[in-house]
Symmetry: C2
Subunit: 351 residues, 2 copies
Amino acid sequence: MLALAGYPLGFQFRFYDISAEAPAGDLADLVVGSYEDQRALSRFVEGLDCITYEFENVPVGCARFLSKYLPVLPSPKALEVSQDRFTEKNFFRNLRIPTPDFIEVRSRVALGRALNQMGFPAVLKTRRLGYDGKGQLVIKKNADIEKAWQALKTQPQILEQFINFDRELSILSVRGRDGKIIFYPLVENQHRDGILRLSLAPAPRLTIELQKQAEAYATRVLEALEYVGVLTIEFFQVNEKLFANEMAPRVHNSGHWTIEGAETSQFENHLRAIAGLPLGSTQPRGYSAMVNLIGTLPSIKNMLALPGTHLHLYNKALRAGRKLGHITICAERRKERDAQLAELKTQINLS
Amino acid sequence: MLALAGYPLGFQFRFYDISAEAPAGDLADLVVGSYEDQRALSRFVEGLDCITYEFENVPVGCARFLSKYLPVLPSPKALEVSQDRFTEKNFFRNLRIPTPDFIEVRSRVALGRALNQMGFPAVLKTRRLGYDGKGQLVIKKNADIEKAWQALKTQPQILEQFINFDRELSILSVRGRDGKIIFYPLVENQHRDGILRLSLAPAPRLTIELQKQAEAYATRVLEALEYVGVLTIEFFQVNEKLFANEMAPRVHNSGHWTIEGAETSQFENHLRAIAGLPLGSTQPRGYSAMVNLIGTLPSIKNMLALPGTHLHLYNKALRAGRKLGHITICAERRKERDAQLAELKTQINLS
């Protein structure tokens, strides 16, 4: 999606992936190698002007190696912070951004102590490589403790306060090379089995106060990291208060609606930012809903027969739990968007 | 632009071009060969499902050769009709679609006779390979006749009535494999030196009657050719009447605004049509203006700094008179669009 947004701006692309099956290979040069393969990485940087990433688990060592040759934006520091939940939460805490309470856990004994301190329910999470609900388990009662510990004990963890949130929101922010910062409106995200299913943009019942809160927190993160590009922060909303859950130093699934639903897409703005070009308007165009297609694909004919459907397939092999594509619905009026969404949900069995 | 619209639908692409410099090579497989190179053409068709074209001067022989292997859509017949102004105008006439009067010219004597019959002013045009105002000369008085004849005499010609039109309009229509036909609203096109500079969509002061007239004519063409894909017809408007000027059996420059300005772009709808998928809504999203970038490129930074600017560069080498890209401006209100357009015109010296 970055390449699709970038070709019209006159950019050319080369991708690096550990798999030769990477979908980007269809529409740009693809260099295949491990993250440690310095020879492949050196071949990759040849002739490029700038490097970015759209996967936050690129090893920091790899990003730092590349940054010896070329600007890597957002900086490897942003990767480093967001790859470790403990580092990330401490980072938020140091910036006075509210988060659920959290405690580092290094042993079974420490877990017991942390639970005594925090109380039930709490969430045990691996510090690294968690995504789409993987690497975390809720502990509601004594009987859950040992199960969670056995499942996750091979990796360093944190215990987090379980927040009974009203809903999840995310903010997409963009910081240019010149330090200019812009924001998209907050988006409401609905998950199932830990995987994002649906984003509504702008978030329903969005108040100026909520938006301001999110923008203030994002600004602190962007400035602390001298960040360049799109940054996403996911929040839990409890009453009128936001708690930062996590950040992603990249374009984000909850921003896919911007392709049709905003003046400038997150992909184009990410590229404008890292290329030092003026950022584009983040103004929404009507009301959008983005629905992920997960695991299997409904009939393409049926999906395209629904009015207002914008289909985006990623050309990935089918696999349970995998995001294979998404559909965006845009309408001038909220009611119209909701009616189309209801029809789409029936179509793709998303109740 | 076809590939950029098609990847999200899950399509894959291979392009054929006589030049290895073809911009499409950046984002898809590119097979290079002459239109007569049957070996290269055979390599090209390997593994494809369907072939289309976005240049109406692909030789009909080439299209027919390919159609022995695979569906070529729109059919080679559509190419054949639109490649020859005399055939094309006769085709319109047979379908009772009004056109400027026209007479075939095969000799200097025949030109004199035709002018006697038609009167001044008239336009001498080559039958084939005319585009962007090339291959045509206006004859206003006796002194112009010899000049026009000398300039164009190496090729077969037609003499056309010079119509003092109010404006030029074009209609983009789409016919699916199942015969379903849909239309975008008429667009107003402004040319300079024979090259399209500006399209306004929907056309200002568009009446239901005008739209109906254009749709009725397009329908006759689409059905007569059992056409599949996007077809564009350019009209001269004189009072409330439309005269067909020419048709293009392809996505068209005057439809580039649909990328941001319509629910479904002409590129996506062309692909949906030839792939046998349901067609997408042609509903405009607000008011659009499309400005061509011709010959040279203004500063990209300056262009992107204008609010609401959607830049599309084609990655072609600079050359006088060449279309190097376009900018689309979209706004919810016409006034806002016009204000942005005025600013853009200053920026790129388009008065």
